[in-house]
Amino acid sequence: MSGSITYLEAIREAQYDALRNDPAVFLYGQDIDTFGGAFKATKNLGKEFPGRVFDSPISEDAMVGLAIGAAIEGARPIVEMQFADFSSIGFNQIINQAATLYWRTETPCPLTIRLPSGGTAGSGPFHSQSMEAIYAHYPGLVILTPATVEDAYWMLLDSVELNDPVIFCEHKFLYYHLKAESIGERSLPIGKARIARPGRHATVVTYSAMVHDAIRAAEELQLDGYQIEVVDLRSVKPMDTDTILGSVARTGRLLAVGEAFPWGGVTAEVISRVASEGFHLLDAPPMRLNAKDTPIPYHPNLWKAHRPTVASIAGALRNLLRY
């Protein structure tokens, strides 16, 4: 893909615009001020918005706690986790403090936590995780997983405006690899899935970076004459069951793909919803494709075999279509 703005730049732009639009917005995270963040998602923002971008100590629990306290007071913090994997240290504040606040006390908690997520070669078990399912299981959070430059920008801006805590799962592989001509107009609101590629023989429901692998697999199958529809969930919680069911109604076949671990998670939720609510739409057993059930390997040879790929998605689709 070519063009003039990357997924990462869109995230930076969104933060720039959020800071500009609303004085209640501030950024808090490790190395995000002068250094601009480990991935440069906040490059120059400290300079452009003095006193509103803060380097934090290495204290994910307290970083989230601080942001919750600030959100209670009407601020709109964006917290950057250096890697999604380190949010495990902020886990308790996220699921028990932020997620329960509104329900317990009627106090809104407009907090956005950015999780640089997903696998890249050579990053290993602790810099590659996709934690959306962990957070989606707990009530009181919105879990977003943008797959496009447009969504990276607009969904982040929307997150900041939302009066609820948002776990914003950005995919690190897309940071530099995904480019677009421009950000484009806002197309869909949070909570709606997108037909990323129309088709009629089978539906792949997926999200984040896997959307692109699924599209490539679909292109591969097109050579065999199959038209594969790809649904980009965009938001894994809430999950847009209607759009998923609509697609399965057209195709009769469902493959759910995710790069996270196989037990539970987004793909299980997708399959369950369709099996329960769209059983008669299915012409074949619904299938799942996830990473393997081990930690994420460090060495690229193993890493590539651990996660779904264009080839394994295409393979799964062939099995599904053969049915």
Binding site: M63, G69, N92, Y102, W103, R104, D164
Partner: protein, 362 residues
């Protein structure tokens, strides 16, 4: 200072203490101190009576929803902090032993009772309970159970105010027990508050036990106040059975926090004079501990001192106690008639954005 209507601050009902004190103008204590002292004493006594009522209702069975965790013996320490705070202006994140502090901060007892008696009218509307109650939007934080995790939240509220330019001379205050100091959350929050130099008072009530666990299995330093230096904050250690000492420490801490000196730690030594909760007979506390200086009843000590100082008469205290009893009884009676939460009226929405709430089970 605006006080939200449901929080109209109860004035002490003790018999005109200031008049009484005029007898002793030579006192080393300022009039202001004396006033705070008597305020604090009032809230201590109100807290004790209220908690005794809660304990009795709990033991009677059937009336109280959930567990009952009391602050008996910790009233001086809690109230001394509470009276430094101004509801509507300061941020307070109390913990389980802080009933006296909550009242001193301005919580009316009806809020306490509504929560314990499970009335839908209470601040948590049956969704969460008792010691977790709060009204975060009013700067009155509602603790979660996980110890230590409120510290950074109170810090964050102050941080936001400074950012917005509305901090003024507001301060924040929160509490933790000896056990709570062993949590990572305490450490991260304390360190972060120090780095951000926030006007936060952290009171550490060392009641010598965390549930049944004695200090010897909780930490290895001589005194928890030794932690202060490691965070680069001012620390003080006091006898928490002595209201005057508590007040002096918290007044100083509040003044320093307002003066921009950053977080303040106040460690108070005392003994929990109740079980961990009312279900617990605390038989693990050796008898000899119950006869130490730390086991003194801070309310008796405080009342005696106030009388010795000539700040209040025994008659006034008796009258005050009668008024407190009446207030509690009336409020219990009122709350008892209030409705319990109704699941059919519950919207079951964990998000404030209704449009993003998914369907629920039938």
């Amino acid at each position: 200072m605006t006080i939200p209507p449901y929080f109209a601050k109860k004035k002490p009902v003790s018999a005109s203490p200031v008049t009484t004190s005029s007898k002793r103008t030579s006192s080393v204590y300022s009039t202001d101190f004396q006033e705070q002292y008597l305020n604090a004493l009032y809230y201590m006594r109100l807290s004790r009576m209220l908690e005794e009522k809660l304990g009795a209702l709990y033991r009677a069975g059937g009336r109280i929803v959930g567990g009952v965790y009391l602050g008996k013996g910790q009233e001086a320490f809690a109230a001394a902090m509470g009276v430094q705070l101004r509801m509507g202006k300061d941020v307070y994140g109390p913990l389980i032993r802080d009933q006296a502090g909550r009242l001193a901060f301005g919580e009316p007892i009806i809020e306490t009772l509504r929560t314990y008696l499970g009335a839908a009218t209470g601040p948590m509307r049956g969704r969460d309970g008792n010691i977790h109650r709060g009204r975060p939007r009013e700067g009155y934080m509602a603790m979660i159970s996980h110890l230590g995790s409120l510290l950074s939240v109170v810090a964050g509220a102050l941080f936001a105010r400074r950012l917005k330019g509305t901090l003024g001379d507001s301060i924040g205050a929160t509490s933790v027990g000896d056990g709570g100091t062993s949590t990572g959350a305490f450490h991260e929050g304390m360190n972060l508050a120090a780095v951000e130099k926030l006007p936060l008072i952290v009171s550490i009530a060392n009641n010598q036990y965390a549930y049944s666990t004695p200090n010897t299995r909780q930490y290895a330093c001589e005194n928890l106040v030794d932690r202060a230096k490691g965070y680069g904050v001012h620390g003080e250690h006091i006898d928490a059975t002595d209201l005057a000492a508590c007040l002096t420490a918290f007044r100083g801490a509040a003044a320093r926090a307002k003066a921009g000196e950053g977080p303040q730690i106040v460690v108070g030594t005392l003994l929990r004079l109740a079980g961990h909760g009312e279900h617990d007979d605390a038989s693990y506390i050796p008898d000899k501990k119950r006869h130490t200086h730390e086991a003194r009843d801070c309310i008796e000590v405080a009342a005696k001192f106030a009388m010795e100082q000539g700040w209040v008469s025994e008659t006034a205290l008796t009258t005050q106690m009668e008024e407190i009893r009446r207030l509690i009884d009336q409020t219990v009676a009122k709350v008892s008639k209030e409705p319990a939460p109704d699941p059919f009226k519950e919207n079951w929405q964990a998000l404030s954005t209704a449009g993003l709430v998914e369907g629920q089970n039938p």
